[in-house]
């Protein structure tokens, strides 16, 4: 194995080890979307009917509608927690060790992003398996189709998190990220309600959702889960991956 592969596997292994050692993180990563699915969706099931719309071929239950949005929520939270772990590494000094490597910084950051994306993928797969238990029927081949979409979304949101970590000086600032990044991104998207419903109630809100790249992550995953390819959503997410990837790697500050 060459030096770059050894380095990649080591970074991936470290992130996975750390993830499984932080049991509360693992638990909350699964409990959070399940609460939304079981409690929130059940409550709103009668109030929010969803008519036939692509990629669905018949009327669906609200629970089924929000599953792709919840997958994207898992990715969003994991990506932002990765940015938090960057801040932690910077505060604890581990970041110094990472950048004492003779391997290029851009490659090291790329490895970090891929590792975070793999963790997101793992959490989404576990969530989808649990969702099947509570009667949300996702076709088994949807899991396979969704892998690239989940990975691409995770890479984009991870890169966004990396950019944000430049502006977070202390771990305590994570509450700010929750209020100003995670919640607006999640609620101002098609994760919980279809865009046409939002358009009916507020046009300006609809336009905000249209310009929110998270909406396209949700839609890309939604179509992929039913074996379809949404070219518009995929193009937007791919564009975001490239822009945020370059900005994240180019502007990352290992030291505050």
């Amino acid at each position: 194995m060459n030096a770059y592969m050894i380095c990649f596997w080591a970074i991936l292994k470290r992130e996975v080890l750390r993830f499984f050692q932080q049991r509360s993180r693992l638990l909350s990563a699964l409990v959070r979307p399940l609460l939304w699915l079981i409690v929130f969706a059940a409550g709103f099931r009668s109030a929010l009917g969803v008519s036939i719309m692509p990629p669905y071929e018949s009327y669906i239950l609200y629970q089924e509608y929000i599953v792709p949005g919840l997958c994207a929520m898992i990715i969003l939270f994991n990506s932002m927690q990765t940015s938090l772990s960057m801040v932690y590494d910077r505060e604890m000094g581990s970041m110094k060790i990472l950048f004492m490597s003779p391997i290029p910084k851009s490659f090291l950051l790329l490895c970090k992003l891929i590792a975070a994306a793999c963790l997101s993928l793992l959490q989404v797969v576990i969530f989808l398996l649990l969702a099947n238990i509570v009667d949300v029927e996702i076709p088994w081949w949807g899991f396979i189709y969704a892998i690239p979409s989940v990975f691409l979304s995770a890479f984009f949101l991870g890169a966004l998190g990396l950019i944000l970590s430049n502006f977070i000086k202390q771990l305590e600032n994570f509450a700010g990220v929750m209020n100003f990044v995670i919640f607006p991104m999640f609620f101002l998207s098609s994760a919980l309600y279809p865009l046409w419903k939002i358009q009916e109630s507020s046009l300006w809100l609809y336009w905000i959702c249209q310009y929110n790249p998270f909406t396209y992550c949700v839609e890309m995953i939604r179509f992929a889960l039913y074996g379809q390819f949404n070219i518009q959503a995929s193009s937007v997410v791919l564009g975001c991956v490239l822009v945020c990837g370059f900005v994240a790697v180019g502007t990352f500050k290992p030291k505050k």
């Binding site: 060459n2 030096a3 050894i6 380095c7 604890m92 110094k96």
Partner: protein
């Protein structure tokens, strides 16, 4: 394999932290002495590429830190003032992770560190989480870690501060032996006078300026002082406090 620092000035928000530093470190054990806030850690962060040089030049043999960073990093072992180990990983996981960042397989790492860890009395703690180790043991792990990639240069920033006498003695003797046996260029920064021997090349930094340098016993004779402590006090404290 020398380290040369030429006309280095570093400012933080317009305030000079280092001013016109010129020094050359030769293979062997070099001591950088200075009070807290003298600029020792800033100088170390410039030497390790953690901060970008604003003015002046730093070279490792013929490699310039600004242009040949990767080749320098491959030859540089560092122990930072703040512990940089991952507390949730085991000693072995920390060491193999570091080795991998230098492109070394776990087997190579284990091969190289076994004698070092035996020497540092850590071989039985390989599978222990770093969180369960005391400060002295954590430092020993960091010392072992900085040697994994067989560096030519070692930079240690106050590596023994806060440790008990036995741990300090073990670590400093280990580094001195390494410097001699492997012809390493070692920069040992400290503010603990008892770590300096009479034959050590000594560099004294105060308020961002290199105020004196030379072999310790020569400096003692030059300033007519009987101990490193007196020499240090004479050079670094304002006259009114003496």
């Amino acid at each position: 394999m020398s380290i040369t620092i030429t006309d280095v000035t570093y400012r933080f928000k317009a305030k000079p932290v280092l001013s016109d530093i010129n020094l050359s470190l030769q293979p062997g054990f070099n001591v950088l002495l200075g009070p807290n806030g003298a600029g020792k850690s800033t100088l170390l962060s410039l030497l390790t590429g953690q901060r970008t040089i604003q003015q002046g030049k730093i070279t490792f043999a013929d490699d310039d830190i600004r242009h040949d960073t990767r080749s320098i990093m491959a030859q540089l072992g560092v122990v930072f003032q703040q512990t940089t180990l991952d507390l949730d990983l085991t000693v072995l996981q920390n060491l193999t992770y570091f080795g991998a960042l230098h492109g070394l397989s776990a087997a190579t790492v284990l091969n190289r560190i076994t004698p070092v860890l035996t020497q540092l009395a850590l071989i039985d703690r390989l599978q222990d989480k770093v969180r369960s180790l005391n400060e002295g043991h954590r430092r020993r792990v960091e010392i072992a870690r900085c040697m994994i990639h067989l560096p030519q240069y070692l930079l240690l920033d106050e590596a023994t501060v806060g440790l008990d006498v036995d741990s300090r003695k073990l670590i400093i003797e280990h580094i001195r032996a390494l410097a001699t046996a492997q012809h390493l260029t070692v920069l040992w920064t400290t503010h603990l006078m008892d770590e300096v021997l009479e034959d050590d090349p000594l560099f004294i930094l105060n308020q961002g300026k290199l105020i004196e340098h030379g072999v310790c016993h020569t400096l003692l004779a030059k300033h007519q002082q009987s101990s490193v402590f007196d020499l240090y006090r004479t050079l670094t404290q304002p006259q009114g406090l003496l």
